[in-house]
């Protein structure tokens, strides 16, 4: 089954799942209110996002320089910097490290990029079990599911779902409340940190001028993953680089506000190397893997390069009415929502993933909320254009639009088509076939009442305006005429 067909099926299923819709509406509603309140109270949002956009532009459009700066500054402090072209290389690097240091137990903090390269599955086939330590990720791992949302992995679950999962997988008593569930996870995970041979994290930012990775979190699990085990590996996309440490004074609040509606996330940790001289703890080795995996493809597309500005806040997911109705799993990709729909064709191929760009009404809510000013819905349009140009669409569709263009460039053909459609609809209704499989507009009529084409078009009215001889054709006027020509009730 193609990705497109799978998406169609999953989206259709989820769109009718009212319970799922209610859960999302509840959770996203809470988020939306909090973000609005924080934006009003805490900072001047518009200048903030414009500044953020400018800094990201600077970083991305001088990416080679800043990555080299990062590498040099990080290496000076004892960090080992690796470069990986794709997921396979990144996985191989990590496996090498595991073998070299006889790593058996790994603790991991939430990282979308490790999802992107399917790291967990890979390590498990080599007998190494990475334990997710972020509560949402831990829950999702217990359920053998993929993360639902790039920021809130368990957004689709109710407390009851989590209670049930813990009961089944950990033997905890039923009827546990969220505080108890979190406490259970905390107890279980504590041992894991202390026993782990390696900690794997992602990073939210790479600071070029000081050679540091920055990890933003609320729980403290990433701090523990990067403090206790003797080895720490951070895998980071090359686009995460920012020029200066001081840029964080802007980015940390911007990310927090857009991501969760907080002023600042609980822990923002900058790691510049392995355990320093005179420091009592910390990993003896710190490795950073800089991953490309298709990002240079996006960089090369000057029109859409700005999609690399993304700081993975998740705001566009929360704003998107499509996401709100179908949820994260339906997309079938690592990155969901509008940003996922924009970048996945570049990272994984246009042919297979262009359908995501079509599964949008182009409402623009995503672009509105993006804290780094990415014109997301315009990029969806461009993906559609690229797909049509590149022959990734059906020949049937191409023919339809070619015919459409012919008709629309000829007023007589246009009027004729109008008459054909009008007559066709009248016949269909007369035969009682409206909404049936014989109705060409069944995809509409299945769920919604179709509009009825009036006998006279506007241009006919205009042409006949003020001509008294046409009064004879006027039928009984109805003062309460249906204003939007929907079918009358009975």
């Amino acid at each position: 089954m193609s990705a497109s067909t799978e998406f169609d099926d999953k989206a259709e299923l989820k769109a009718h799942d009212l319970r799922h819709r209610a859960v999302l509406q509840q959770n996203i509603g809470t988020y939306t209110a909090k973000v609005a309140e924080t934006k009003a109270r805490f900072l001047n949002w518009e200048p903030g996002r414009q500044s953020a956009r400018g800094r990201k532009w600077e970083a991305i459009n001088h990416l080679d320089r800043y990555l080299e700066d990062f590498e040099r500054n990080a290496s000076e402090r004892g960090t080992v910097v690796h470069w990986a072209v794709d997921g396979a290389q990144a996985r191989a690097l990590i496996l090498d490290l595991c073998r070299k240091h006889q790593v058996r137990r790994v603790v991991k903090s939430k990282s979308m990029i490790t999802e992107e390269i399917h790291l967990n599955d890979f390590l498990e086939t080599h007998g190494i079990l990475p334990v997710e330590t972020d509560l949402g990720e831990y829950i999702v791992q217990l359920r053998c599911e993929h993360p639902y949302h790039i920021v809130t992995p368990a957004m689709h679950l109710t407390r009851d779902d989590v209670d049930q999962t813990f009961h089944e997988k950990l033997g905890t008593p039923r009827g546990s409340v969220p505080a108890e569930l979190a406490g259970i996870a905390r107890r279980v995970l504590r041992q894991k940190y202390l026993e782990a041979d390696m900690g794997i994290t992602g990073a939210n930012f790479l600071v070029a001028d000081t050679g540091m990775v920055v990890i933003t979190e609320n729980e403290g699990n990433a701090r523990l993953c990067s403090s206790l085990p003797p080895l720490h590996v951070a895998i980071v996309g090359i686009e995460k680089v920012i020029p200066r440490l001081d840029d964080l004074a802007l980015f940390l609040p911007i990310l927090a506000v857009a991501g969760t509606g907080q002023q600042i996330t609980c822990y923002n940790t900058m790691i510049g190397g392995p355990r320093g001289q005179g420091e009592p703890d910390g990993p003896v080795e710190f490795h950073v893997i800089l991953l490309d995996n298709g990002r240079t493809e996006l960089l090369a597309d000057t029109e859409q390069r700005e999609a690399l500005h993304c700081i993975r806040c998740g705001a566009c997911l929360n704003a998107c009415p499509v996401f709100r109705n179908i949820g994260g799993h339906a997309y079938g990709t690592t990155y969901q929502g509008p940003i996922g729909s924009v970048i996945t064709p570049h990272l994984r191929g246009l042919q297979e993933w262009q359908h995501l760009s079509s599964a949008s009404s182009l409402c623009g809510a995503c672009s509105d909320v993006c804290p780094v000013g990415i014109g997301l819905h315009h990029h969806l349009l461009r993906n559609r254009r690229n797909a049509a140009r590149g022959g990734a669409r059906t020949w049937r569709e191409a023919v339809i639009f070619r015919l459409w263009a012919v008709v629309m460039q000829n007023e007589d053909l246009y009027r004729f088509l109008g008459h054909v459609l009008r007559t066709g609809q009248r016949l269909l209704r007369g035969a009682g076939l409206e909404g049936s499989f014989l109705d060409p507009a069944w995809r509409w009529s299945r769920g919604r009442s179709p509009p009825h084409m009036p006998a006279q078009t506007f241009r006919e009215w205009w042409e006949n305006r003020g001509k008294p001889e046409n009064a004879a054709s006027i039928l009984r006027a109805k003062p309460e005429a249906e204003r939007h020509n929907m079918p009358q009730q009975s």
């Binding site: 400018g54 072209v85 290389q89 690097l93 949402g136 969220p178 090359i238 009592p280 800089l290």
Partner: protein, 225 residues
């Protein structure tokens, strides 16, 4: 037979060169620089006299606790009462003069340079550290693996107490970064962190739960002298 994964392995230098080449090739084509905002002020100014009030408000909103002392005696009294109320028995503190003086006889054990962090620290009820600075705007504490005496002390025990001086309070994150650079720029500590409240999660139905993995309790003892 070679492992399938190793066939992907290129010498790191070659990969590095390949990626940088791709980047440089792509960047031959430029994109228009976005306009800077007309008025770039993102954060409204905080009047200097309001700094402490602001810090107190923000810390409270984050469910952190602020204790203020005007003398060493007051500080010791605060600590003694807190340790008793919360039943902190195994306390680990950094060997910092302010902390020694504030803790007095309360401290059960003080860290030295060669201690074994993991298992012993894992038994602690409370970790006490100084900090680099406090940030009023966000109610945050900035510390490093130097001031925090390592990475774990401020995150592993279920409670964390920060002992700070009034003079360490700054308005904004940008002030904090400036200070860090002036103090550590020549040789950065391996870890720096900005702590804003006790550990938390809202992963279950957006319901706030404190003490997810890090400390459930965060306290700041502010020495107003």
């Amino acid at each position: 037979m070679s492992h399938p994964e190793t066939s992907h392995r290129l010498p790191s230098a070659a990969t590095r060169a390949a990626i940088l080449l791709r980047i440089r090739t792509a960047l031959q084509y430029t994109t228009a620089k976005p306009q800077e905002p007309a008025d770039p002020a993102v954060f409204p100014a905080i009047p200097p006299n309001d700094l402490l009030q602001r810090f107190a408000t923000e810390l409270a909103a984050l469910k952190g606790e602020l204790l203020q002392a005007s003398t060493w005696a007051e500080a010791q009294a605060h600590l003694g009462r807190m340790a008793e109320e919360s039943q902190f028995v195994r306390i680990v503190a950094t060997p910092h003069p302010d902390i020694r003086q504030a803790c007095g006889s309360v401290v059960a054990r003080t860290l030295t340079g060669d201690h074994d962090c993991g298992p012993n620290l894992a038994q602690a009820d409370l970790g006490i550290t100084p900090c680099d600075c406090l940030v009023a705007r966000t109610g945050s504490i900035v510390l490093t693996s130097r001031s925090g005496f390592g990475r774990s002390l401020s995150v592993l025990p279920p409670a964390h107490l920060v002992v700070a001086r009034r003079s360490q309070l700054v308005a904004d994150l940008s002030d904090a970064f400036r200070l860090l650079r002036s103090w550590h720029g020549a040789m950065w500590p391996s870890m720096m962190t900005i702590i804003s409240g006790p550990s938390r999660t809202a992963d279950i139905e957006k319901i706030l739960v404190l003490g997810a993995n890090g400390p459930r309790k965060l306290m700041v003892l502010l020495l107003n002298f």
